[in-house]
Point group: C2
Amino acid sequence: MADEEFVVTPYEVRGKVDHERLREQFGAERLTPALLERLRGLAGGELHPLLTRGVYYSHRDLARLLDRHAKGEPFFVYSGRGPSGPLHTSHLVPFELCRWLQEKLGIEMYIQITDDEKFWFRPHLTRAETYRWGIENLTDLLALGFDPKRTHVFFDTRSIGAMYSIAVDVAKRIPYSTVRAVFGFPPSQNIGLVFYTALQTVPAFYPSWVAGRPVNCLIPCGIDQDPHFRVTRDIAEGLGYPKPGLLHSVMLPGLAGDKVMSTTGDTRDNALFLNDPPKEVARKLRKAFTGGRTSVEEQRRLGAVPEVCSVWAQWRSRFAESEAEFETITADCRSGKLLCGDCKANLIERVNGFLAAHEARRPAARELAESVILETAPPRATPTS
Amino acid sequence: MADEEFVVTPYEVRGKVDHERLREQFGAERLTPALLERLRGLAGGELHPLLTRGVYYSHRDLARLLDRHAKGEPFFVYSGRGPSGPLHTSHLVPFELCRWLQEKLGIEMYIQITDDEKFWFRPHLTRAETYRWGIENLTDLLALGFDPKRTHVFFDTRSIGAMYSIAVDVAKRIPYSTVRAVFGFPPSQNIGLVFYTALQTVPAFYPSWVAGRPVNCLIPCGIDQDPHFRVTRDIAEGLGYPKPGLLHSVMLPGLAGDKVMSTTGDTRDNALFLNDPPKEVARKLRKAFTGGRTSVEEQRRLGAVPEVCSVWAQWRSRFAESEAEFETITADCRSGKLLCGDCKANLIERVNGFLAAHEARRPAARELAESVILETAPPRATPTS
């Protein structure tokens, strides 16, 4: 059957994903130019490259959230990370958009670090490992430049005291059969991961719970995370919370070109990790899959195909510094003017420059991490129901 | 099939329970006179009436725990309460034994109040209700006279910060299929209750986790709670904790005589609640099921049958103040000397005296409750694995 050619859940991506068909399967909306222009208006006339270059392509309820925001009811942004290893460049996609939205709209940001989930999901990871990666990953995320005064972190095993009350309410509304259907869990799945989706829902409701009135939430995420938040949206209104809106990005190809970047896949060479040393970056990019031709002569004549190229995906999602540069790279690739070796050499320099600057921002971010982790719940504005 | 005549899980008791067959089905040991004598030796020559009168009749691993205790490795006791309504006299059975063990052996007591579980289990209970019953029930339990310096309370929604680290470790070891089999949950069961057994395991491991070395645990409980702790015992050693020992009591009959006391059953008249006013106690006991005969003449001639009598069960489990009194009541019942009306009148007076004294101890217990609830985890003796 056509629908079975690929499978996408938060715990599995199998087959070659057709993002447009996936959006339709999931019942999400296309992120239209008109919507983007409304967001541009709210953001002081700018749009982030991840929006203009189509990395974000799908949404739920964005129009409603922009409406309310324009009427003086700001939404907040929420994104999360399951800490099972070092971050790679694709992991930054939702957080970079969140950082930009925070800066342009002056809104609150909630980050969830799900060290419990990754411990439950990965048989061989220990608690010490998921905890350590949680702190490491959080440091990397904060080094992107979030506003310390508007950034709040749920680090699951440290923040459970602040999270649990909402999680208890949520868990009562979710039957096991829903979790089984949405995530495809076998009967052997441990009860931690069965429960976990209740915790992933908490940050979407927390600001409303604290304020005692509805506060809208926008969740930028890879479209593979959509199933979690469909569950969240299904139960939100029954608990008196607004349904969170979603902004879906495509799943970017790894350096092997044929599958998404993975922290824990069979090869580390498929991803550019934030802790890769410069030589490692160079080595990985030199062997990365491209849309180039089999000979220089043929490439000069026919041009290359950026849409299938893992190097182009890096320029597109982060490393092209301006629209002009991105358009030049894309045009020169397509025309055959830019050869893959030169393009890769440029990208290696750009990536290593970024990683060095990122590394320099980490010590302050590490210090910041301790002050933004929510460890107890604030007093509620309204009594528990 | 014979084995299907009754069903006992922590969430359902169906049919007429044969306790001896249930013990065999569960694979537990008989609580022998020899074991009781060893306990008497450790307890300074005394045994609690709940032990001598056979209310506790089954165990797991008690011999090992007594051995280690005698060698200077004290065990602690743990029992819990799911707060869905007022306590009745049968609820006091495990706690009274714990209080006695604490006093005689000088050991630590851990109480768990599972307000999350009851919220998940009872469709119509609200969070405010399970929280309020949790505080009420805890007050009643502390009013039994636990030693404030040796008593520690997990009140789930308040103590989760102290409990979660162990719960996360435990949950990874329990597949959904185990929970389904042990508790008989349907696919529609909410994911809170599916996860919950991980939390019921926490107090059994907590003192070992804090100390960084094995500390033995003894859990007095109704035998219907055994399935929870079989799961606990199955995973204990894999996590480096000793298997908890268990002391099982029979399920005492309610005042209707044919089923266990219930807080939330079809009638409040089946149980003596700790908040029943004196007239209510009298009314309920006057209509309580007994082992008496159809006429005074017949009873004088044949005697009554204490074993099936709900009034005798009350004398047996709490209200006979001495072995001499209990033996007299039992003998006079059996011989026909003591008629049901007189026996009930005596019990009404005794119960109301107990409830009045209990009520007088509640204000101090209510105050104590706030100081014994564990709200944050102490520093660990050993690092997280």
